[in-house]
């Protein structure tokens, strides 16, 4: 099975990602204290999405996984988009 094991990710990489995550958390909190109307929620979701991709691709080693894992993520996100989209088609146009 040796061909399927990953190269260890250096400690340095993980620590840098952690620092980036803390900075992004600081940005989320700082932006949330300024009134921007509906933009506030979109910025919060945008920063949260960036943070999630860092966690998924680096901490969870998705970067090193085969295509199958990445397609799986894409399928899950598509199901999620359908779930959210169809719910809102219903709720917003009642």
């Amino acid at each position: 099975m040796s061909e399927h094991t990953h190269e260890p990710v250096p400690y340095r990489t993980f620590i840098l990602i952690w620092v980036a995550l803390l900075i992004l958390t600081g940005i989320t909190i700082a932006v949330s204290r300024v009134h921007l109307g509906a933009l506030n929620i979109w910025i919060a979701l945008g920063v949260a999405s960036i943070k999630s991709s860092l966690v998924i691709f680096v901490f969870m080693h998705l970067r090193q996984e085969s295509k199958l894992f990445k397609i799986g993520l894409l399928v899950m996100l598509s199901i999620l988009a359908i779930f959210i989209g169809f719910t809102f088609f219903d709720v917003l146009y009642r």
Binding site: M1, H6, W18, T25, K51, S52, F59, L80, F83, I84
Partner: protein, 199 residues
Amino acid sequence: MSIEHRDDTGARFGMWLFLYTEVILFSGLFILYAMALSKFPQQFAEASHKLNIYFGSINTIVLLTSSLTIALAVTAIQRGRIRQTLILCGVTVALALLFLVNKYFEWSEEIGHGIYPGSEHLAEMGPGVTNFFNLYYFTAGLHGLHVFIGATLISIVAVLTAKGKVTSDRYTLLENSALYWHLVDLVWIFLFPLYYLIL
């Protein structure tokens, strides 16, 4: 030597599939949140102000750091550094407990103010605020349960590592527990701004 069947990639993919279902589970709650927010924007902002932003921020830092330590533990086991792996697992579990202790104080304070599902005080504040807190308790509670399960898994893996059952050659259990732990972190990354930081 007996022949054993072993498929580490398959085991990892199975874990990922399970995590996808977890995302769908939590996304149901986030969709409920989004619909309630579009119905009661003013009340949601008002209710969000009642949450303690310090508890939320500290718990965010705690969870992000615990995600780092468990990611480092995977690298440590891959390099065969058993002692480091055990220390990093220990730190992760300690951070998980710290998160739950914070949550305990946070919820005690809120419940002390008469804010809990079904309370009269909450009913007086109207359907918007009630909606917010019901969702908050359910989502954060379900997340807290995941923190507890994750910490238990990591403790078990640490014991197995100490016993020599998880090694640099065979560490799928640690890897999959780490994946679960990162999911707990991912859910919090969305939960924190949506519940604590609404203006």
